[in-house]
Amino acid sequence: MHSMTTTDQHIDEILMPILETVSDPEIPVLSIMDMGVVRSAIIIDGKVKVEITPTYSGCPAMDVIGDDIKKALKDAGYDSEVDLILHPAWTTDWITPRGRKALEDYGIAAPLEAEADKDVLLHGKRIVKCTNCGSQNTRLVSQFGSTACKAQFQCEDCQEPFDYFKCLK
């Protein structure tokens, strides 16, 4: 298994713009690069070897992401092989600042730090910002949402329901 002990990404610069065109099928505004699921992409003897890591074990998007990567690389003239790796485990820290902004613009509140996340999900603390009006007067509706990575919230001011991307560390 490649890079067993490091959290570093190894992405060939040439491949970057190609991989950035591939988006998360569940969150189309978010590139898989901003999501941090691509851990390495290198060219060996003209063939691209890509390693991706799942956000959650059961994430059904991983198969689609694998296929989309192969297609994007094929369109750019590369044959490729995509492997799923589990270590090191994905964390929400790998979502880039641009990714966080894309989430917020799309209506999904970006993950808080671990302690704050716990306060919100366990103790009902009202600090998650509504993605519609910005109010922090928001209420946890459910710890689980439309996908494994999200929780459901509702804004008590503008009444808008929205998703919150749970902190995973």
Binding site: S57, S142, Q143, T147
Partner: protein, 251 residues
């Protein structure tokens, strides 16, 4: 098979998640509320994802071309090694939550130990799963408190569920012969050492939930050695139907 003990050990871990995942999946569209429905099926999805990682690894160890699907779908009832707790029916929401909490508290403690395994695939899977299962345990323990410390009716139902499911908890800390071998090799987790911490923690949550820790000292066992309650046959009938009716079918 060269590494049969490790193969069986992995199946023992994975079958718990597989059968519990299937049970929770039954709630798709049938949960007591939209939010709890989604929560239970999300947990189910996490468990199935974890099962895939374990079975892929088990398939590699078997080395005879068996795929993750073959291992999941084509074994007979006696070859499933899950504990009896996870095959117990959903009955009502208190049972679903009680079963989940009694399993999650164990599962989380187990995975924290498995993270330290020198087997790099198992520790990688555990590293991944432990984050997800932390959420499961938060959800289930939170609901135990809510229902226990809720209305008179919810408290009564939660207590009844805990009383009925309690007799399946001791088996979590049993070891099969294969388990013992793998523990001796330093790869597996010695579950007997998790028992005291488990019962202390579960006791604390039940107390917070104003529930009584059952006093019964009679415990069922057998699942880990393939001797199951009648429920498993029905679960497998549904789980395996497509592969049995249309062998080798794919999506």
């Amino acid at each position: 098979m060269k590494n049969e003990n490790l193969y069986n050990y992995i199946l023992g871990i994975a079958d718990n998640s597989l059968i519990l995942g299937q049970r929770l999946g039954e709630l798709t569209g049938h949960g007591p509320s939209l939010e709890t429905d989604i929560a239970c099926t999300n947990i189910s999805l996490d468990l199935f994802g974890q099962v895939r990682s374990y079975f892929q690894y088990a398939g590699k160890i078997a080395g005879d071309g068996r795929s993750e699907d073959d291992i999941a779908m084509l074994r007979k009832e006696r070859d499933y090694k899950n504990v009896l707790l996870v095959e117990q029916p959903n009955t009502n929401f208190a049972y679903t939550i009680g079963r989940q909490f009694l399993f999650d508290a164990y599962h989380l403690a187990f995975l924290k130990e498995l993270q330290k395994s020198p087997d790099l695939t198992l520790s990688a899977i555990a590293n991944k799963c432990v984050k997800e299962v932390s959420y499961h345990e938060r959800f289930s323990s939170d609901w135990v408190r809510r229902l226990g410390d809720g209305t008179e009716e919810s408290r009564e139902k939660m207590q009844e569920a805990i009383n009925d499911l309690w007799m399946y908890t001791d088996e979590l800390f049993h070891q099969t012969d294969a388990d013992k071998e793998v523990v001796e090799q330093g790869i597996g987790v010695d579950v007997t050492r998790l028992k005291d911490t488990y019962y202390n923690y579960v006791g604390e949550v039940l107390e917070e939930a104003t529930l009584v820790v059952p006093e019964s000292k009679y415990f069922h066992k057998g699942g880990k050695n393939g001797i199951h309650t009648e429920h498993l046959g029905y679960i497998l009938a549904e789980l395996q139907y497509m592969q049995r009716a249309y062998p080798n079918m794919e999506w």
